[in-house]
Chain length 192, copies 2
């Protein structure tokens, strides 16, 4: 049940998990299934749990007044999902998160997360590593978004996260990259 998660956490730590820590993880993380298109979190709600994706694919996005979706994040196996701000500060979320395929998660509540953070050294290290990594990735993304053309942004994604391109339809990738599906289609047509 928890093998993937434990394997993943070990891969992120400087020292392996103890038996006791593994037990605590198994207690704290509970399975949750989402059907395709089902919400994990709706804009305006508070993000009561964080999830580790065992199987499936998810997306984080906003919807503007005119109904247009803007995709901020795409997530697949072995990624974490949560609205960081809402989860950490218990405030209403600005974004929605839903399953893009049938998805299996292991989820942890805010309370259980706080308990592990206080009690167990590994959780602190894990949270630090992940937050730090996210900050680096986001800074690069700001830079990419500001400086590259639509075509270059796509090339960058093909290099950085090739799995996304097989996993999500083109119009979703286009929105993630900040272009329309038409532009994306034309870029691909030109490259052949």
């Amino acid at each position: 049940m928890h093998e993937d998660l434990i394997y993943y956490i070990n891969s992120q730590l400087s020292t392996p998990l103890s038996e006791d820590e593994i037990t605590r993880i198994k207690e704290a993380f509970v399975p949750k299934k989402l059907r395709k298109h089902q919400y994990f979190l709706q804009e305006g709600d508070i993000c009561k749990m964080a999830g580790f994706i065992k199987k499936g694919a998810m997306r984080q996005y906003t919807v503007d007044e005119s109904g247009k979706e803007n995709i901020l994040g795409l997530y697949i196996e072995n990624w974490w999902v949560a609205d960081r701000e809402s989860f950490a500060q218990n405030t209403p979320s600005l974004f929605s998160i839903d399953a893009f395929e049938d998805t299996e998660l292991l989820v942890i509540t805010q309370e259980a997360f706080q308990r592990l953070l206080k009690g167990l050294r590994f959780m602190n290290e894990l949270a630090t590593v992940l937050t730090e990594r996210q900050a680096l990735q986001l800074l690069k993304r700001v830079h990419i978004t500001k400086t590259l053309t639509a075509e270059q942004r796509l090339a960058d994604l093909e290099k950085t996260y090739p799995a996304f391109l097989q996993r999500f339809p083109q119009h979703i990738i286009a929105s993630y990259l900040g272009m329309t599906k038409e532009t994306m289609s034309r870029i691909r047509a030109n490259k052949k």
Copy 2:
């Protein structure tokens, strides 16, 4: 000498600094002055220290092949400066950082930082808080950059960091916001 830094750190922590911790801070952070336009870090170098700005203003940026600067970050009093990735992983920096005015810093080396991280609870808490906050801000910035027009991005900056507008010339703000100085000038002309 260290009053501002200590006051700042206390403001970020859940419990006040002890006398011992204050002593350790005073040992670890040393003053450094930079003249206007002097480098704190050059692209390609390793970021050997992180700095807290006591007085002055700084910028983080890249220069592309054609010589065009792109500004990623602006920093003033009570902000931290460092290339996070380079500082944490001891790798060559992708960005440059320099002083935009005569600036007074308190700087800490990688080694001293690691020592405080291991030895002192407060440093861990501080680093976590700051990294977490940066990740939140960057995610918002990605969203803003993707969804707002040039005019809306400026309005957002006026709301979020009004101090920047008094502190930096227009063409610097324009680059930070991802537009040309001409566009910025026209936006301001139209608003009156």
